[in-house]
Homo-oligomer: 569 residues x 2
């Protein structure tokens, strides 16, 4: 497969910047978990690896998704040859619907990865506009001066790949997310043989997944989860509900295998679970016979010991299928004593309290619950320290750049690389926006480009900034008080109000007295202004704000947002 | 020590409810972590055990503390004989300053517990008003018909006790928080001997700590943390900062011992750390020689390898000492490469992201960081499964009531009790407000009283309810839009506005166009009303709200709080 360089692109603006032979520029995922996106720039060509999103952190109030800022790419759009995707997780493909609207370039990935991507593009009505190119492991594509070979890695989503990127300056190995599972469910081992082949010829740089660098030893094989299921299932008297990430096709396969062996039918719950199972079956990554798969509507025809429901909602998302079941608010499923719920997924940081509440509610419904903390019903998809060392020793790169991790993970991964003998000066701690340039036989961070995060809120992409978020935070803590005052602009006389309305503060029910007192405070503040000052809206606003702020702080120690509205009449 | 029943109390209202010989009524802490408070009622007397607070959950926006609703006690104030405190943690003593304002009764506890309580009461200027009675382990107090013996238990705070409560109906063992540490730092073992003595005579009920019921095996001894310090300290080239809970006096002692052995001076950072160390030293629970303790102001006179700072802020609280250090915003302490920070505390659920960010910032400053996840620098203060079984088997109660736990912990603790042979019908799963009554030789939940949580926000106790919180939540997600309209009440003509102001929405900077369009939407909605309807404020408000809601949803998919203000002119 080969894609030539388009002639017109040589005229692209600011091409002169490209005096360094090879530049690697992280646009997301270095210094944070999620939002993975990396640009490789060489000889006028730009190659992008992954294009992920991040779910909002707790202080990003009201935000739906976070995507990388692609301002830098936007200015160089004509030189982008394509996006290579390592695997089909949201933090690697989730920003595509937003980024492709501005940057229409072909996508390269394995069949399942592109299956998931296509589903996503269909939702955003982009599926007819974007070219998807399916690549098999050990197959290469040429993108301008880059040759990219896809190499199998084991991970929690099926069909994941590392990339061996051959550039005019040397080979870069970009691991994507990986673990070195010795007994993967599909038998597809991490392709250490190919990595060794590249290592023999010499690797310029290794960019390796840092997610689990704080964990000692080896990550358990995915097969362990199947064994845990095999232990739990025979002891369950009633229905079994397994909640898992809908992209975890291996996990689903293992549930199916154990369930069918124990005479249970499979019923799917949750939109993305139904979609992903359909895609994975169509592409041959998941084996469920039609006779074992039933529609949730048929639940009533089965006795409890014949039922295995595979569901989304393992993070306790408020509107999810599993939360509705836990709150006894699900159309088809009503939990009873004897039922078992297995949360076969990790707790995403930030969701601890929500999931904890979910489990409490499941117990209130009478179910028994198995989860990561009390049973081995989940294993990680990321390499632990010993696997990371094995990757470093297999690839033996000249330079090492840790990727996919918060700042501390990157630091720890470099400490690990130092332990296996990579000299300090060849370990590069880069974070988003750092441009790593490779010269002759050195590499260094040579500049910092604008990078960052863009918030998606509803249909708005990027219009919610820090001021809005700061206001939302302030509003969320003590609510808002609006004061409406009408002032005659010639006499300075008060001719309307003050009217006070509030939300999220205290003025409810029996707080009428407090409202009256607040009004008096405003009147007093106005009295202290002379006629001229009262004709100046800004002056009045400031006086009102100050007086109320002081009064609220002293009387009840709260600091609501105070919004004076002055009508000039 | 003895406190007789006051004569006047026999006239207390609704005393007739007390037909059951013994009633146990959880007012907090059963079905939640924190907020521990239990009432024992017998023969006209009420005894309270503990009076804790809870730090707000993420959805309790702007709330400072959560305390138990004591409405039920308020109506029976004259019959309350006193509050016995098991130990000095916030979730057992933190609500005292609020509760004592309504219920002035004597407090009973060990010296350190009351030392912490007194500090708290001083802050609220209550210290002169409340009677504190110091009790030593194995000492008893009589409170009405109750005799309460305090029995030593090991826990993460020094001087903790279980209570053996002798009632006319039998003995109840109330463990408080405990672990069965075989090598506690102060040598004070959990008093299994006394518990056995009660068991021999027969125990009516055991109420036991469920916090760690999901953990298998035994909880590690506090001494392990000292050993971890002893391994880490000699390897640290620069300054060492240990962050710990200021109430963890044993932890502080172990830091001090290792630091002094390595020639480091102790400097304290954080208000509560300074206060608690002072109290513990005064009472003889902590040994630091004056020559080893230095003021933080003297930091400049010490070389890095002479410094050990013990600090608060292990939870990444925004204004805390440690966070300021991590953000390079601390007056005296500036981190450098070579410095080491040890987070010697657990991650309180809900704080995961904040602490994770704290650690990243510490690494950015150049420090090395040890924390619970990567090193054994913290152990729990609560009993794991094997210890809980040992407690059950030692006390051999007739009835078992799990306490201190979320719903799932209570369920799991009963499963554990069943395993050691307590029959199902003698395990009582009670949650807050359930009245457990003991008859002859049965016990059962006989009614549910009003219980719940009261929010403290600034100086306001209980004035923030669910409507205010719901508004804050709504405001936090999409902000607020205020629309001001003046309408002539005789003609229905629009004579002012519409003015639109917003906070936390989108109307910033370049959104002027959108603001204009929104104004047009309001005008259109007003046009559709006839003159009569326009004179009805409610009618106008509803029309404006509906039109804007529809417009915002369609154009940008957001749902701000819309607050129309109609001036009748």
């Amino acid at each position: 497969m080969s894609r030539g360089r388009k002639d017109d692109t040589m005229n692209d603006n600011d091409f002169n910047e490209n005096t360094d032979p090879l530049r690697i520029i992280p646009l997301g995922g270095l210094g944070e978990i999620g939002l993975n996106m990396m640009a490789y720039e060489c000889g006028g060509d730009i190659l992008i690896v992954d294009c992920g999103l991040m779910f909002p952190e707790p202080d990003m109030l009201g935000i739906d998704y976070v995507i990388p800022d692609i301002g830098w790419l936007r200015e160089r759009a004509g030189r982008v040859r394509g996006i290579c995707l390592t695997h089909g997780h949201e933090d690697h493909i989730g920003a595509l619907p937003f980024v492709l609207q501005e940057l229409n370039v072909p996508l390269f990935g394995t069949a399942l990865t592109l299956g998931f991507v296509n589903e996503k593009l269909r939702e955003y009505k982009l599926d007819d506009l974007v070219e998807l190119v399916t690549v098999r492991p050990r197959q290469s594509v040429d993108l301008g001066c880059f040759r990219v070979e896809f190499l199998r890695v084991a991970h929690s989503v099926v069909d994941g790949c590392a990339l061996a990127i051959t550039t005019p300056e040397g080979v870069v190995i970009h691991t994507g997310d990986f673990k070195i599972d010795q007994t993967p469910v599909d038998g597809q081992l991490t392709d250490l043989a190919s990595l060794s082949r590249y290592a023999e010829a010499g690797v310029l740089a290794l960019l390796s997944d840092s997610t689990n660098v704080e964990r000692e030893g080896f990550t358990l094989s995915e097969k362990y989860v199947g064994e845990a299921f095999a232990e739990i299932f025979p002891k369950c008297p009633g229905r079994i509900i397994v909640a898992a990430f809908s992209s975890s096709i291996h996990r689903v396969q293992q549930v199916v295998d154990v369930a069918v062996a124990h005479g249970r039918k499979i019923l799917l719950n949750g939109r993305s679970m139904i979609a992903n199972v359909r895609i994975a079956r169509q592409l041959g990554y998941l084996t469920i016979s039609d006779s074992d798969l039933m529609d949730l509507k048929e639940l009533g025809h089965l006795s409890p010991e014949q039922v295995c429901i595979i569901s989304t909602g393992s993070q306790g998302e408020p509107m999810s299928a599993l939360t509705r079941i836990a709150m006894d608010d699900h159309k088809q499923i009503k939990l009873e004593k004897g039922d078992t719920v297995i949360l076969s997924s990790r707790v995403i940081p930030g969701n601890e309290r929500t999931i904890s509440e979910l489990i409490n509610h499941l117990y209130r419904r009478g179910a028994e619950v198995f989860h990561e903390k009390v049973s081995e019903v989940h294993v990680s998809g990321h390499a632990s320290q010993e696997e990371l060392k094995l990757m470093l020793n297999t690839v033996r790169p000249r330079f090492f750049i840790p990727i996919h991790g918060e700042y501390r993970h990157l630091v720890k991964h470099i400490q690990l690389a130092r332990k296996v003998g990579i000299p300090e000066e060849r370990c590069i701690l880069a974070t988003n926006g750092d441009v790593v340039a490779f010269y002759a036989d050195t590499a260094a961070i040579v500049e910092k480009i604008d990078s960052g995060r863009v918030f998606v809120d509803g249909k708005g992409v990027g219009d919610v900034g820090n001021v809005v978020l700061k206001d939302r935070k302030h509003l969320s803590e003590d609510g808002m008080v609006v004061v409406i005052i009408g002032i005659n602009q010639s006499s300075g006389a008060l001719i309307y109000g003050p009217d006070i309305v509030s939300r999220g503060f205290v003025f409810e029910d029996e707080s009428q007295d407090y409202l009256e007192t607040s009004r008096a405070v405003v009147l007093e503040a106005l009295d202290e202004l002379n006629d001229e000052m009262r004709c100046d809206s800004e002056e009045v606003k400031q006086a009102v704000r100050q007086a109320l702020r002081r009064f609220f702080k002293k009387s009840i120690e709260r600091r609501p947002v105070i919004l004076p509205v002055i009508m000039e009449m």
